[in-house]
């Protein structure tokens, strides 16, 4: 038998703080063979990135390996000298990082940063090194490698930066590549390109890969084996098919139930959050770490002693689970406790947006612009937006960064005013009405839930006083006693204990902060709530809980929800209607079913294909878009999507704005392609048919 590339045995990692030793990772085992890609998946704080840094033996000043061994091709990294380690790093083991912009030195050209690797490890001269760098930039499919070599990192886009980082990692032909959330900072359609590149790495470059991610869908699309981590331990490991199809750990099943799957929505398969929260490393419970959050917990057994990793079979690469009850639970019959909801009929029209435009004026101070005499340019943040939203309806605005969705939210809230067009809210035109000129009723009936849990609450004031301020401000109650009662009631509504009113935001977890943010938005009994990516910064299991809560309150109050997101899977789950935006313009809008099945706008099609899916019973067509998102500064005269469109027709796309076709009333697509042709496009997702190989198209419920 050949020696595995990487063999980690009984690894224990700890951080040493003023409070004492904090175990970060306990009893970690992993074997990675040549050409294999293993995935490490888990929520934040589970220790997955710590493992990656330990493989490089780079844990910083306060971290250390306290037990076990990490063998790279049979040599133990733990006992290596500094010089041996240095020769290993970057040459045999290389790493790709989460934030490509931050990982590159801002004041050094990319060429020099790349050339350093072969110069340092192979002693070649600068010219040879640069030539090698150029070859690798070609290999990671970066066009115009010469220009990129001479550029500084800030001069290229995020997707290009990540390709540069990957090229840098591959330059010395490493046998092991560590990828730490390499696509998290990127847009979905850009991510798809990187994922495709990573999936091909093994056979193009012969590397073995360790892929670290919080996203089960990405793991499924890139890996052969998967290790699910929870609170510093591997709780389940096995091949992708084993773990994804016959899941045997309650945490893993919990993760799967907490994420939206294609082909299901809030009515037929509600998300199931995992209750409670991740224990802090020094407050881990006795016995099973997941015990307090587990539906199958059995007192006296699960909290008795440390739970070992148990093998389901005696195969050389077994499916293993850290649960003593895995063979007792009836996995097929188990249904978590959720309440199904009735479909709601949308009510009267609350919001009507008509031909709304928002342009920003930018003064170009460059020399060239002065010569041309044209130094004022317009950023077309929103271009002729038109859509409606009704009572009780959830309308989602979907798009990648720079598509103008946040600008639209600002105009709606009155933080900016529209350049053209009308926004009718409850009959009043508010497009030109900045928030200072709106009546308290108008303000109170249009509120917002914000994206970043760490910024949504003011760290200097208590939770209670922040909610109370809203109640006072909108004049709902004036008596101090009554205001307090109302604060308590709102905390009840968002399922937080009443004594949270006295707490300060830093004492709350991310999910709890978002709940307070929701309570604050609903304090004034709004008719409409705008939620700007309210769950994207949260962990999967918490995301489900917050999403469910938001839906529940919306139902109870009959509120219209305008849900802004980049995540199509969440949108599909939650929304009744979807508006797809690209570079400030609406590409497609319609009901959720209409948008998710053909005819698609080519951008919608690409966007759908870019979403990683964790459900192994589905297959999707891969569409990888060329290039990166263009800037909103120079929008092309024709279709904004023309430069990247996979179904580009010809000059007409670049020069003429696309007409709007309406396959069904209310389903609008802005595209030059004839409707019949769009209708002939096969669906992006199809159910895998075991056996006969025929694809059954999935038409959403």
């Amino acid at each position: 038998m050949t020696v595995p590339i990487l063999e980690i045995k009984d690894l224990c990692l700890s951080y040493f703080t003023r409070a004492g030793e904090i175990p970060a990772v306990v009893d970690f085992n992993l074997t990675l063979n040549e050409g294999e890609t293993a995935g490490l998946v888990g929520e934040s704080g589970c220790g997955k990135s710590t493992v990656a840094l330990a493989i490089m033996n780079y844990l910083g000043d306060n971290g250390g390996i306290v037990g076990g061994s990490i063998k790279f091709k049979g040599r133990d990294i733990v006992t290596m000298s500094k010089e041996e380690l240095r020769r290993l790093r970057g040459a045999d083991i290389a790493m790709v990082y989460q934030e490509p912009m931050a990982a590159l030195n801002p004041s050094m050209t990319i060429g020099r940063q790349l050339a350093e690797v072969p110069i340092c490890h192979e002693g070649v001269d600068m010219a040879t090194a640069l030539k090698r760098a150029e070859e690798l930039l070609d290999a990671v499919r970066l066009p115009d490698a010469k220009r990129i070599l001479a550029a500084y990192p800030h001069q290229i886009s995020g997707g290009q930066q990540q390709r540069v980082v990957i090229a840098m990692a591959l330059l010395s032909k490493p046998s092991l590549l560590l990828l730490d959330e390499p696509t998290t900072a990127l847009d979905v359609t850009v991510e798809a390109g990187i994922v495709e590149l990573i999936a091909d790495l093994g056979h193009d470059f012969g590397t073995s890969n360790l892929y670290i991610s919080h996203n089960l869908g990405l793991i499924r699309e890139t890996c052969d084996r998967v290790f699910v981590m929870y609170s510093g331990e591997v709780v389940e490991e096995g091949s992708i098919d084993e773990v994804f199809q016959s899941t045997r750990h309650p945490y893993t099943t919990g993760l799967f139930s907490a994420i939206p799957m294609p082909g299901s929505d809030k009515y037929d398969r509600p998300l199931v959050p995992i209750r409670g929260q991740l224990p802090l490393p020094h407050l881990r419970p006795k016995g099973c770490n997941f015990g307090p959050r587990c539906d199958h917990f059995e007192a006296g057994r699960c909290d008795n002693r440390r739970i070992p990793l148990d093998r389901l079979s005696e195969a050389p690469r077994p499916h293993a689970v850290r649960c003593i009850r895995w063979d007792e639970i009836d996995w097929e019959a188990y249904r978590p406790d959720v309440t199904m909801v009735e479909q709601m009929e949308p009510g009267e029209r609350v919001l009507r947006v008509e031909e709304m435009q928002k342009y920003y004026e930018i003064t170009d101070r460059s020399f060239a612009a002065m010569l041309r005499g044209k130094n004022i340019r317009f950023v077309k943040a929103n271009e002729s937006l038109s859509f409606d939203a009704r009572r009780q309806q959830t309308v989602a605005i979907v798009g990648e960064s720079g598509c103008g969705k946040s600008t639209f939210a600002k105009v709606l809230m009155g933080l900016e005013t529209a350049t053209e067009g009308r926004i009718r809210f409850n009959g009043d035109d508010i497009a030109d009405l900045p928030v200072e000129q709106r009546s308290p009723e108008q303000i109170g009936s249009l509120q917002m839930v914000f994206q970043n849990p760490n910024e949504t609450l003011n760290p200097s004031h208590t939770v209670g006083s922040q909610i109370a301020r809203v109640i006072k401000k909108f004049g709902i109650e004036t008596d101090a006693r009554k205001i307090e009662q109302r604060v308590f009631k709102l905390l009840d509504t968002v399922k937080l204990p009443r004594d949270f009113a006295n707490r300060r935001p830093r004492q709350l977890s991310g999910g709890q902060k978002q709940r307070v943010g929701i309570a604050r938005a609903f304090a004034g009994n709004p008719a409409m709530v705008i939620a700007d990516e309210p769950v994207s910064a949260l962990d999967v299991s918490v995301q489900a809980a917050v999403t469910q809560l938001l839906m529940e309150i919306q139902r109870d109050h009959g509120t219209t929800l305008l849900f802004i997101s980049h995540d199509l899977s969440v949108v599909r789950y939650l929304a009744d209607r979807i508006v797809v935006m690209y570079l400030g313009q609406i590409m497609e809008q319609g009901t959720t079913d209409e948008v998710f099945s053909p005819p698609y706008h080519p951008y919608t099609e690409a966007l759908l294909s870019a979403v990683p899916i964790a459900d192994t019973s589905f297959e999707k067509r891969r569409i990888v878009l060329e290039g990166d998102l263009p800037s909103a500064m120079n929008t092309p005269p024709g279709c904004p999507f023309a430069s990247r469109c996979q179904r580009h027709l010809g000059d007409i796309c670049d020069t003429t704005p696309p007409p709007i076709v309406e396959p069904e009333p209310g389903h609008r697509i802005a595209c030059h392609i004839p409707l019949a042709e769009l209708q002939a496009v096969p669906p992006v997702f199809s159910q895998k048919d075991d056996g006969d190989g025929g694809d059954t198209p999935v038409v959403a419920a």
Binding site: A102, A103, N105, P106, S107, M108, E116, C120, Y152, F367
Partner: protein
Amino acid sequence: MVIFLAKRVGYMLLTMLVVSILLFLLLEVNGESVAVKVLGPYTSIEQRNIWLENNGYFRPLYVRYFDWLFGIATGDFGQSIRFKAPVSDILWDRLGNTAILGAATYAIMVPVSLTLGVLAGMKEGSALDRTISLTSIGTTSVPEFASAVLLAFIFVFTLGWLPGTSAMSGGFDPVQLILPVLVLFLYGFGYLVRMTRASMAEVMQTPYIRTAILKGLPYRQVILRHALRNALIAPFTVIMLQINWLLSGVIVVEFFFAYKGFGALLLEASLNQDIYMIQACAMVAVFVAVTTQTIADIGYTYLNPRIRLGG
């Protein structure tokens, strides 16, 4: 880039203009009090009026201002009351002396502070870092006049190694420079060390330093190639702006050691109400400060590719 330079220089001139107006308003708006300062307190109203008439003080304010400004622009700062000589005759000599003092201080301060700051920032929280940081806090806490007294007490009074004054009456003598330079250095280097340390420590925490280490580069190269370049951008600005501080510091030091420099001149002028000399000194000081600030801005832009090459 050309536009940027032109803008910086234009901006600098504008600042000078505003400063000149401020100074003019502050010191000369009341002709009566100028006359008192020039002629002395025991003069009659008639004498003052004659003087005011002869010197054009009865002209409108703006005419007087432009006249004054034109004089300054052509190097004519007026007549010093205290020295009974044209201001410019005295000023340039003194400025030269101060330049020598400043250059000597910088020649020691910059390399020492940058080295110590980089060493401290390389490993934040280490014993070396704590030692360097605490030392720099300590020296910055001692005002220049206090360290001048203490150093003079040790080296002049107790040990007798160095001269106690730096009047240079017998021609230029480098030994007399030692104490003034030492005092300026002690008070000033702490700030620069702390800025360098903070900048270096911040850079050492960045992901690109981790990238460089995990590329397998030797530690020396990580520091020299990746860290220093980025860490020294901020201190560069500080070094240039410290010239502004130095102009304050020389007042005390030159006064204490009787060094015939610009600072002592300004102080002497102030204490003797030598109004034209004060104006000239202030204008020159601001000019030096604004010029260095402009150089700092331009240098910062040049050193920072993210700004230089735009987004």
